[in-house]
């Protein structure tokens, strides 16, 4: 049957199982939007900015495990997606982005709304395409979805010139994809896995460091089994939160710059570090030559370029984490080791560190502490909400004080650190998981970067809860200025912050406010009752609050700074107990 390029695009999306896409129309994609007008099986969510569309597709993908899809027009429509694509690329999120393009005969002529988006996104996509002939369209889309969702996932962009989407051709869905130059390694090398098992058996003080790769590979079950069986404590990277239950005894919480004292201390004292689906980012390692200084390192990752990129690795295993962990479990089970006995002294040591310096903050009766809000969110949602974050202090507090027990419940821009990510991502997550409670833990700075998406949430009746930790500052940068720049607060004070309650109301959403600690929980509970529209909650928090512990950039991760006030208080308490 002969179809137009636009119709082929829609057919292909349906064949790929796509139900929801996020987008924004424009000149050269008019005919695609026209073809969508009567389409029943495919719903497009109109955002209010293309960046919102990309982050929503990203949030949709992270929450559901499916490929996120976005459709935008040429020129500015396409360039507005670049931040979102780079965000997805850094965090290995499967996504296919369709951008309109001027007709092929005009490409390179500086036509109206022309941008070389393939050139611009080359370094921040897993792969990208410019389709020059409608006959190649179906095959290209098939390949794009395959590439985006297999191996180490990532965003793929397809640029669609107008004459390609208006052109007609015989439509045939390519059942199989065969790209000769692309075949990710799924099975880990058997010999390497046996070696890894030996290293685990011989180690006295092992630590597992689990990252986002575990979630992408759907390997949380295997990871949990491995840790529980071999009695190895687990620390998570920011991206790995939820891959191992945060409330489990063996959990050390997050490591790195704002990691827990016990996670960082355990890593620095370990004799074996098992990195699973991690890339040893600089925010995790601190000064690399001091990182895990006593440990041999095993690294399991599907992407060979992640191995030995930042730190030397003693034993690399290239493969899909789920496959590798299954094989590793098999080998270890045959050993019938008395794990509890051989790990006893190490686990006692780790517990002692946990007691020595737990994650804590200085509670105040009068002023709302931001950490307190996050704890309350955990309480009222029973730890079962999908939590999205913006970037900065809000992100770190959300990572520290909410316990993530399940994968795909923590959505945060880890690699690129994109302010303005959380709210549109929450919209995407809510669309993917309509029965879930979805929160965006935001700062007053970040929320203003994509605040226009309130309209998207209102019109689609999405009950996304946005908890704004409002300190009237770009808090994380302010924190650095306080600690390292002699309290010279250059351009971090947001002296004019809008009335977020009124902003929400202006869009037809609900706005709530808490100014004292007593009001926090009632406001949160009130928000949970609202099921048909978004809620903005303005929490007026202590502007002086800082994220602790903190490892100064370039220091070793056991060179942590703590909140002195908290330290003094706990000393007094200890004295009182004595």
């Amino acid at each position: 049957m002969r179809k137009s390029g636009a119709e082929i695009l829609i057919e292909c999306l349906k064949k790929e199982g796509v139900k929801h896409i996020f987008g924004y129309p424009g000149g050269v994609v008019l005919n695609i939007f026209d073809a969508l007008y009567d389409e029943k099986g495919l719903e497009l969510f109109l955002t209010r900015h293309e960046q919102g569309a990309i982050h929503a597709a990203d949030g949709y993908a992270r929450a559901s495990g499916k490929v996120g899809v976005a459709l935008v027009t040429s020129g500015p429509g396409a360039t507005n997606t670049v931040t979102g694509i780079a965000t997805a690329s850094m965090d290995s999120i499967p996504m296919v982005v369709f951008s309109g393009q001027v007709p092929t005969m005009l490409i390179g002529n500086d036509a109206f709304q022309e941008a070389d988006i393939v050139g611009m996104t080359r370094p921040c996509t897993k792969h990208n395409y410019l389709v020059k002939d409608v006959k190649d369209l179906a095959q290209t889309i098939r390949e794009a979805f395959h590439i985006a969702s297999t191996g180490r996932p990532g965003p793929v962009l397809i640029d669609l010139p107008k004459d390609v989407t208006t052109g007609m051709t015989e439509f045939k869905w390519p059942e199989k994809v065969n790209i000769r130059s692309y075949s990710p390694t799924y099975q880990g090398n058997k010999y390497m896995i046996k070696q890894a098992a030996q290293m685990i058996l011989k180690s006295k003080k092992p630590v597992i460091m689990a990252g986002g790769g575990v979630i992408l590979s759907e390997a949380s079950k295997e990871l949990t089994e491995l840790a529980e069986m071999t009695k190895i404590p687990v620390t998570n990277t920011l991206m790995g939160l939820g891959s191992f239950p945060g409330s489990a005894d063996l959990s050390l919480g997050m490591l790195g710059m704002h990691g827990t004292f016990y996670a960082n201390t355990a890593v620095q004292n370990a004799d074996l570090l098992i990195g699973i689906g991690v890339r040893f980012d600089d925010r995790v390692t601190g000064k690399t030559d001091t990182f895990a200084r006593n440990a041999k390192i095993i690294q399991i990752d599907i992407d060979p370029t992640s191995i030995r990129k930042n730190v030397p690795v003693d034993l690399p295993v290239v493969g899909d984490i789920k496959h590798v962990l299954k094989d590793l479990l098999k080998v270890l089970k045959d050993e019938k080791e008395q794990w509890g006995a051989i790990r006893k002294s190490w686990l006692n040591q780790v517990d002692a560190w946990k007691k020595e310096r737990p994650l804590t903050y200085n509670f105040d009766k009068k002023i709302i502490k931001p950490e307190f809000v996050v704890e309350k969110i955990h309480k009222v949602t029973k730890g079962d909400a999908i939590i999205c974050t913006e970037v900065g202090q809000n992100q770190m507090w959300a990572a520290q004080f909410y316990k993530y027990d399940k994968p795909r419940h923590w959505l945060s821009s880890g690699g690129l650190g994109t302010m303005g990510y959380g709210f549109p991502a929450a919209i995407g997550a809510q669309i993917a998981c309509p029965n879930k409670v979805v929160f965006d833990i935001a700062g007053d700075g970040s929320i203003q970067m994509n605040i226009q998406e309130l309209a998207t949430a209102v019109i689609n009746k999405l009950p996304v809860k946005v908890a704004i930790l409002n300190n009237r500052f770009l808090g994380m940068v302010r924190q650095w200025q306080e600690l390292f720049f002699k309290e010279r607060y250059s351009h971090t004070g947001l002296d004019v912050t809008p009335d977020f309650v009124k902003v929400a109301e202006a869009y037809g959403a609900v706005g709530l406010r808490a100014t004292t600690p007593d009001e926090v929980e009632p406001v949160l509970r009130e928000s949970l009752k609202i099921k048909d529209r978004p809620v903005f909650m303005d929490f007026e928090v202590d502007w002086k609050s800082k994220v602790f512990p903190m490892v100064p950039a370039g220091a070793a991760i056991d060179e942590m700074i703590f909140d002195e006030e908290v330290k003094e208080k706990s000393k007094k308490k200890l004295k009182a107990v004595k």
């Binding site: 393939v118 050139g119 080359r122 370094p123 897993k126 792969h127 410019l130 590439i147 790209i179 000769r180 130059s181 692309y182 992407d303 060979p304 370029t305 030995r308 990129k309």
Partner: protein, 164 residues
């Protein structure tokens, strides 16, 4: 260390930019680059010469392998191979030096492919050392300009060195 890396790629538009972007995006310099079709017209071969320590080059070859359009990557550091580069040199020896210049060209198996009122153009092929030696020797005669094709390399048959 100087590494010669051959990259077998799909013969599609944009591939060169993907490969070169990978170097530039990481601040690595390409010393020379040559590209041409292979026996299969859908496949091209790039020969890239770059400088970097082992860790950098390992990262480069892995990143190259990761590109979707790249079929195969070989770092000739680990492989017994032969390599050649072709250089065209325009030199202007003085009248008295001409015989000497032509003799040197002959010794190095260069070919005079053009001559004008004041200059000769020599074509010379060889590996890095030979070309460097020739250029060094004729410098005193007055080189006006030269162009290089960049190196190409091919593995010797069945003599793969064991990786260290």
């Amino acid at each position: 260390m100087r590494h010669t890396i051959s990259v077998l790629v799909e013969n599609k538009f944009g591939v060169l930019s993907r490969v070169s972007g990978l170097f530039s995006g990481r601040g690595f310099n390409i010393e020379s680059l040559s590209v041409g079709e292979t026996i299969d017209p859908d496949v091209s071969l790039m020969t890239i010469v770059t400088i970097g320590d082992d860790q950098i080059v390992e990262q480069i070859t892995k990143q190259l392998n990761k590109l979707i359009d790249v079929i195969k990557v070989v770092d000739y550091m680990d492989v017994d191979h032969v390599e050649r580069e072709l250089v065209l040199i325009k030199a202007a020896p003085k009248k008295n030096d001409k015989t000497e210049f032509l003799k040197l060209t002959e010794i190095f198996r260069g070919k005079i492919i053009d001559s004008g009122a004041t200059s000769f153009t020599v074509e010379i092929t060889g590996d890095e050392k030979k070309i460097a030696a020739f250029i060094e020797l004729i410098k005193p005669f007055g080189i006006k300009e030269f162009v290089r094709t960049g190196k190409v390399a091919i593995a010797r048959e069945g003599l793969k060195k064991a990786k260290q």
